[in-house]
């Protein structure tokens, strides 16, 4: 299976002094779901914005689906990368209804696509309401469906669960995983919560201080959870390491 994403020696500094990302390298196979986990300031959002083309790297190379989209000599604009990005606060357009939001990116207004998207997220009865009246979970589903409407090769999600309460989070995690697998796209999402990653992702990247400290499949990660070095990484990375370890044991 070929790689959907290849990142080589990627670095980014906003002020020319401190690096938000430093020499990041990783690849990801097509059809996989990858979680990038790290605390605030670890460089997660910068990484996802660089992949989307919303920031410009200082050095390094990004390839999407085998095509180089960013290196030292050229930068592909975001609309040429075939990626979709769902922002942390969902960025639904407040003056457009759910249907208008869903069809916003479509070149031709195709009612059948919009109807099937509404059915996919089970929100047919909300077609003509404005985002202000939706719950957090509903907003998130609309935001993901709006991005999926364009059939992106790679779907990027920026902290998709951070604005949701814990009960809703648990239900939505599985719902999103099933949705993504159903449409068959690849997905990278960032989170500061390891449990989100464990519940959804096929592979995991741990990011700290702008550097990758661990990249493995979720199966490998869970299999080596008792190793001292993984335990140390976990306790460095999260304050709820004990809970995470317990959850992994249960898995």
């Amino acid at each position: 299976m070929k790689n959907i994403l290849d990142i080589q020696s990627l670095s980014k500094s906003y002020d020319g002094k401190k690096f938000a990302l430093s020499d990041v390298n990783f690849s990801m196979k097509t059809g996989r779901i990858c979680a990038i986990v790290g605390e605030s300031g670890s460089g997660k959002s910068t990484l996802i914005r660089l992949i989307a083309g919303l920031e410009r790297p200082n050095s390094g190379k990004i390839s999407i689906n085998g095509k180089t989209v960013s290196d030292d000599t050229k930068i592909c604009s975001p609309d040429k990368r075939e990626v979709g990005l769902v922002f942390q606060d969902f960025a639904l357009f407040p003056h457009l209804t759910v249907v208008e939001n869903l069809s916003f990116g479509l070149k031709k207004k195709d009612e059948s696509i919009v109807k099937s998207l509404l059915a996919l997220i089970k929100m047919q009865e909300y077609a003509n309401v404005y985002p202000a009246t939706l719950s957090g979970g509903q907003e998130q589903r609309v935001a993901i469906a709006r991005t999926l409407a364009l059939k992106p090769e790679l779907l990027l999600l920026d902290e998709p669960f951070s604005n949701l309460d814990s009960n809703l989070k648990t239900a939505l995690r599985q719902e999103i995983r099933l949705l993504i697998k159903k449409v068959g796209t690849s997905m990278v999402f960032i989170t500061h919560d390891l449990i989100d990653a464990i519940d959804i992702a096929d592979e995991i990247i741990l990011l700290k201080g702008g550097k990758i400290i661990q990249h493995s499949t979720m199966t490998d990660f869970v299999a080596h959870i008792q190793d001292e070095d993984v335990k140390k990484i976990l306790s460095d990375l999260t304050t709820n390491a004990e809970r995470v370890l317990q959850m992994m044991k249960n898995l």
């Binding site: 410009r56 609309d79 407040p94 003056h95 916003f104 990116g105 202000a132």
Partner: protein, 558 residues
Amino acid sequence: MEIKTKVTFKLKHLKRDSNQWSFYVLAIGLFISIPALSILFYLFNGVGEMWQHITTYFLFDYIKNSVILILGTSLLSFSIGTSAAWIVCKYDFRFRSLIESLLFLPLAIPSYIMAYTYVGLLGYQGLLIGWLQAIGLPLQKIEMMNIQGLIWVLSFSLFPYVYVGAKTMFISFPKVIQETATLLGASSKRYFFRIALPLASPAIIGGLFLVIMEVLNDYGAAKYFGINTFTTGIFRTWTALEDIQSAIYLSAILVALVFLLNILVKWYRRKKSYALRITTLEPEQRKRVLLSGKKKYVYYSILLIPVLFGFLLPVIQLLYWGYLTFHTMFNTALLTIALQSLFVGGVAAFFIVTMSIMLVYFSRWNNLKYLNFFKRIATIGYVIPGAIIGIGIIRSSQSIINFFSDYIGLNIGFLFYGSSVVLIYAYIFRFLAVSYNPIEANSLKFGKYLSESSYLLASSKIKTLFKIELPLLRYTLVSSFLLVFVDILKELPLTLILKPYTLQTLATKSYEYADDERVAEAAIPALLLIAIISCVMIFVSYWNKINEKSPKEANRFE
């Protein structure tokens, strides 16, 4: 070393990171900055012939009078604006809403119009003097044409800037702050001076800065009262002494002082930013204290004095004069002037709002962030007095005309002096910040994620502008347009300098009559101007209320 690395990095990626938007930001920034850059450029030509004469006989007077005016007007505006804001925020009383609205209205009367109404009110046989004599006061007249009189006029004309800033802060204080102060034993007076006033100080200082800018920009009132200030001095050096180079030097001194003041104000506001942080707490439903007893009459007086002296008395005087001259003054010629004012104001305001949108929009997609420096230069016009902008534009226009005539053989002078093009350009430079700042602030409030999200979905920045950004900014665009429109209608020095011979506005017509000692004839154009401005201001306030209540967008972005 570090700077060198930074520069090397920026140069290395210059080609990769520059895009069409970088070019547009640079082009618009440079185009609008011409007056400021030309003043800077002509400084290198050295001082003019009269410079020695000016520094010996006038400069001290200019500095002394301007400083006294700034201090006096600031002190009086601060006292009026802050006390009025405190009373309307803390107390409840009959007609509170009406008085709150009336306290804005002095802004509808340009200070040069207020200046000559006061000379009428307090001169021999003046209306107010007559009333005072009727209640037994043995007054013949009160001399207004001195620096104290000018301070009085400017303060009652400009205090709403302080009032608005102070009121916005006082109303946003969480109730818990006052409750804590009361539990700690603070009296109402102590709470005001130790807690409320320091917390509101950044907004009050911001309001005072606007007052000072207007004082420095004032030409009409100071000239009418015969007070030598920097601005009247620049005019005199230029027109009477015919020494434009010395006028440029005077302008440069004034601009340097204004920039220094601007830096100090910004530094102070940043230092006291704790006052802004508390506004992030939700202010509780404000329960005002019901005014009663003797206090009620004292507080009513404190509120009604600025309304009376800042709006009602000048308007009554104008109505009286207007009544005397109505049959000769209200004619088609005046209506033509009114239409010209509205047309020039409307066209200029449209261009200013369009330029503001373009600057906000272009700089969003420009990847060379250091080019945004030009955006800042383009928006400094509001802190540069109109007379100086006028000189910068006349000087640079002359150079452009000479260039076309000498090297291309084209005479384009008529474009500059025979039409309103240069005047409209000058308004753009002077008032760009008035519309740019709220448009940028609201654009940031909606967040860059909406624009980025739209761009990723629609693959089009133009569609993002027209389908997402402009609809979301529609309320701000309308209110920005109207605020700029009002400022242009009132503007005097710049219009006097740059208007073509055939163009008259209500402001220039009213000023010209007053300057010719025909104050009664000045009343009808002045009243028409005040009526238009008052209507627009009332509409803006109504429009902003609709915006706050807009239901379908009332989500987290609000």
